[in-house]
């Protein structure tokens, strides 16, 4: 079947099998390799892209379902920047060391973009829950959460502090939280 999909602002088309996954369309038919496939069960989120602005796991969408729609991958965020992270999210991932091996990163970044666009008042708890569908095996999420908060215009130190203060342990004498991420 022939599909036409706008990818990062450019019209693309290919003759694909009806069963082809959008992740494979992006990687194999269009040749954009940032979108990674890490599992078979829509668990890891490494393939997350925006489909008409909504975050989807591109291993769970068929190419034919994306026909005549617009897809944004991580390559589309900083397309004109000459290889420098300049989008608020990619910039924050760089500054906060929100990646190590980088495999989950494109999906994590796209989920973060979606999360920030849907909630103008994010806090640590919301970020953690918002990223539940994206697994990372390297970072322990600490710096990813910080990066998303920074990208959302929040002070991650203040957010993590308020998280600590709001929990039940604030009553413990002598309880003090260190400077997280220091």
């Amino acid at each position: 079947m022939k599909v036409e999909i706008t990818v990062n602002g450019e019209r693309t088309s290919a003759d694909v099998e009806p069963r082809q996954l959008l992740a494979h369309y992006l990687r194999d038919s269009v040749g954009l390799k940032a979108t990674n496939i890490g599992c078979d069960t829509t668990s890891c989120g490494a393939c997350t892209v925006l489909l008409d602005g909504e975050a989807v796991k591109s291993c769970t969408v068929l190419s034919v379902q994306a026909d005549q729609q617009a897809v944004t991958t991580m390559e589309g965020l900083d397309g004109a920047s000459d290889g420098r992270p300049e989008h608020p999210v990619t910039k924050a991932f760089h500054a906060e060391h929100g990646l190590q091996c980088g495999f989950c990163t494109p999906g994590m970044v796209m989920s973060a973009v979606s999360l920030i666009s849907h909630d103008s008042d994010l806090d640590e708890r919301k970020v953690r829950e918002g990223l539940e569908g994206n697994l990372c095996r390297c970072t322990g999420y600490h710096n990813i959460v910080r990066a998303v908060l920074v990208a959302a215009g929040k002070d991650p130190d203040a957010e993590q502090k308020s998280e600590a203060e709001s929990d039940a342990l604030r009553t413990a004498p002598g309880f003090s939280r260190g400077e997280a991420g220091a």
Binding site: D78, H97, C101, G133
Partner: protein
């Protein structure tokens, strides 16, 4: 100001965050054009003989170029760990018998990926089921043999040459013993295994997702019977390893063999469900601990007995219990230590290294022992630890495990962790909740740990070259997969040469560029490869001075490096100088060196974990984790903290969530990410890191390793915290992972 010790963001990130990294499955090397896709047919049974394999239907399927079975191969089965029982070899494709679910039986080669998935379904393999043995303790009885010709399931035994002394604990006032499970874990790097291979005449090039190019080359060459210099292994970006990508995999050699046989390049990228059965897994120890000492709290005796589950074919797992035995006494000054281990095969996925590789298992055991001992004598577990740790004045300290700890301040690390956590206050809060009978009980776990880093591979090569345009190339035998070596090694070179990070390129993971190297594993990289880069860069300055001496007509002793301008100047003579770039334009300015630290180092630390346990549901929430991880001076705190964070998360995950499970027939019950409990951001808190710096005398920089520290410290702290929350109910132990079901069952049992 020195760049060393500063928080430098990663130079490798811009590509990762714009175009994305280039993993093995992303390669666009034109020599891979027209590559065949390999799809492996894997055994659905854990133990069976193969009666027949019918490939006819698969051969007729669209896009199928070839279907290859073990009968077609001309490579002999390989012993995947040289020290194991010689009869326990693994065929590259099973011919007469399969020994675990996921063992490759046939190879399907197609033009396109989807065609392979279809055709593999059509390969018809007839199996005759055999009795299955999953439990390593049962396997040790040798009733069901995996390798009848071996006559035993024991692949290796350590310390079993004599019977344990029955009177070992006779002088102790208190003796506590316990069986522990250190459960099997999946390393689960987000990038699954992948390899691509092509031949140019009799020269083989293999791209693989791996932690060590040189080890991978040696294994592929050995298995295929090739000269090493005919094989080039290249590691592109690697999407996580965690120990499971050390060395080559039999599948990689198969890819290379098929490429030769077909006369076409071959690509292979496994699925996650293949990865969850085909890739080596970790831990998988059954331990018996016995600890003895005085009522006053002095531990005098410790015994550790390990049965290591190796899975179906002995691999690096065979070695793990040696590390566990070496590190058995942990941070403690125990006069009498006794240990033994046995490594046995079972009808499961093979076991190899996983983040910490034998050391977390040792720490989990001794830390559980300390808690049980403290509970038995009714003392605070932190106090009992401090009473028994090696005193700072005793370093270098040779343990009864037979290793020499280089440096350490174990009690100080515990004190720092306790102070940061507000330990006294937490205990008061715990007491109050118990008195109120709160549903949510508080638990506090304390761990003290020491680990061996760079164990077994203390030397590493490095080279540094200044080019005519003033840029620098650094070559290293270490091989990162997320750790940030490109930034860290460039910092080391920049410090010595005065050349900016943006002009320094670090290359690694290519056996043509770096023929010798140990790769990145066992937290070895900085103290070996990093120090080698430091040394190479220093030697490069010396070489530059020698060359400049002739040019500037000055004595070498009068020359110094002007780091502002990357130039050699004559001390006290302004204007008389020559830049490194100018020197490089006259003659190649390059040094190659080897750093040999000769000894491992011993980072250490202490963690405090605070949990809330819902006593009605068994749900555990990690509220805080305070980590003191002392790895000596820190080259780049950004990278170091990142390593600690990841390690802590994996440690909590082992304590609370993760376990690879099989049913009695050897069928994996956790074969996908939908079943296997990898934590997400929502299950974890942010972490509190506390700094402490005790340099090692083993290298001039004082550097120790950090990659696995977080895991080693956080697992026992978290397990202890959960048990501590329930200790007032009479609960003294729960095996990992402490899932809500397990915790709830323990509470229910205690209430009876």
């Amino acid at each position: 100001m020195s760049i060393l010790g500063t928080r430098v963001v990663r130079t490798e990130d811009p590509v990762f965050l714009t175009r994305g990294a280039t993993y093995t499955d992303d390669l666009t090397d034109e020599r891979l054009t027209g590559a065949l896709h390999l799809t492996l047919v894997r055994s659905p049974l854990a133990h069976a003989t193969i009666s027949s394999i019918d490939t006819a239907a698969a051969l007729d399927a669209p896009g199928v170029v070839a279907v290859v079975t073990g009968a077609d191969l001309d490579i002999a089965p390989a012993l995947l760990f040289p020290g194991a029982n010689k009869a326990m070899t693994r065929p590259f494709l099973a011919t007469d018998r399969v020994r675990f679910v996921g063992e490759p039986v046939a190879a399907v080669l197609t033009d396109e990926f989807y065609q392979g998935e279809d055709a593999a379904e059509l390969v018809d393999v007839e199996y005759e089921p055999l009795p299955v043995v999953i439990d390593p303790l049962a396997a040790a009885d040798d009733e069901t043999l995996l390798f009848p010709e071996a006559g035993t399931n024991t692949a290796a035994a350590y310390g079993h040459d004599s019977e344990p002394d029955a009177d070992f604990f006779s002088g102790c006032e208190v003796v506590v013993t316990r069986d522990l499970v250190n459960q099997r874990l999946a390393a689960a790097p987000l990038e699954t295994r992948a390899a691509s291979a092509f031949w140019e005449g009799d020269h083989l090039t293999v791209y693989m997702s791996n932690q060590n190019a040189q080890g991978g080359r040696d294994e592929v060459a050995g298995w295929l019977g090739l000269d090493k210099d005919k094989v080039r292994v290249i590691l592109p970006d690697v999407g996580g390893g965690f120990g499971a990508k050390i060395g080559s995999d039999p599948e990689f050699a198969l890819v290379a063999w098929l490429a030769r046989q077909q006369g076409r390049p071959v690509r292979w990228n496994e699925s996650r469900s293949e990865n969850m059965t085909g890739m080596v897994q970790g831990r998988a120890q059954r331990q018996t601990i016995t600890i003895g000492g005085t009522r006053a709290g002095k531990v005098t005796h410790y015994r550790l007995d390990v049965v290591q589950d190796l899975g179906a074919y002995p691999r690096l797992g065979t070695f793990l219990p040696m590390f566990t035995r070496m590190m058995a006494p942990g941070t403690y000054d125990i006069e009498n230590v006794d240990s033994r281990a046995r490594a046995v095969v079972t009808n499961t996925t093979s076991i190899a290294a996983y983040r910490g590789a034998g050391r977390p298992e040792a720490t989990a055991a001794i830390e559980r022992a300390m808690d049980l001992f403290a509970a038995e004598i009714g003392k605070d577990p932190a106090e009992v630890r401090k009473l028994n740790v090696v005193a700072p004045e005793k370093f270098p300290f040779t343990t009864k495990g037979g290793v020499e700890y280089d440096s350490g301040e174990f009690a100080k690390a515990i004190d720092l962790a306790l102070a940061e956590s507000g330990y006294e206050g937490l205990r008061a809060e715990q007491k109050a909740r118990r008195e109120r009978g709160d549903v949510r009980q508080l638990g506090i776990g304390v761990s003290s740990y020491v680990e061996i880093t760079g164990g077994g591979a203390f030397a590493e090569d490095a080279s540094a070259q200044v080019h005519e345009d003033g840029t620098v190339t650094v070559l290293t035998g270490t091989s990162p997969h997320g750790q940030g070596h490109a930034t860290a090694w460039a910092m080391l070179a920049s410090e010595q040469l005065g050349i900016g990070l943006d002009k320094i390129t670090v290359k690694h993971g290519d056996t043509d560029l770096v023929p010798r190297g140990g790769g990145t594993m066992g937290s070895r990289s900085l103290q070996t490869g990093g120090v080698a880069v430091h040394q190479a860069s220093g030697e490069l300055v010396d070489l530059a001075k020698q060359r400049a001496a002739d040019l500037l007509e000055a004595s070498v002793d009068d020359l110094e490096l002007d780091p502002e301008n990357a130039a050699i100047t004559v001390a006290g003579v302004p204007g008389k100088s020559v830049t490194l770039a100018e020197l490089a334009s006259r003659e190649e300015l390059k040094v190659e060196t080897t750093w040999d630290g000769k000894k491992p180092t011993f980072p250490f630390g202490a963690h405090v974990c605070v949990v809330e346990v819902d006593t009605e549901s068994g749900k555990v929430t990690v509220e805080r984790i305070v980590a003191v991880d002392d790895a000596g001076p820190i080259l780049n705190p950004l990278l170091c903290d990142g390593q600690r964070h990841g390690g802590i998360a994996q440690g909590i995950a082992q304590a609370l969530l993760e376990e690879v499970m099989y049913d009695e027939e050897g069928q994996p019950l956790t074969g996908t990410f939908a079943d296997y409990g990898i934590p997400s951001a929502a299950e974890l808190p942010s972490f509190d890191l506390v700094e402490m710096t005790t340099p090692t005398p083993v290298n001039p920089m004082g550097y120790k390793g950090i990659g696995e520290a977080g895991t080693i410290g956080s697992t026992p702290a978290t397990q202890s915290a959960v048990i501590d929350a329930l200790s007032h109910l009479g609960i003294t132990h729960i095996d990992m992972p402490l899932t809500p079901m397990r915790v709830w069952e323990a509470i229910s049992e205690a209430g009876k």
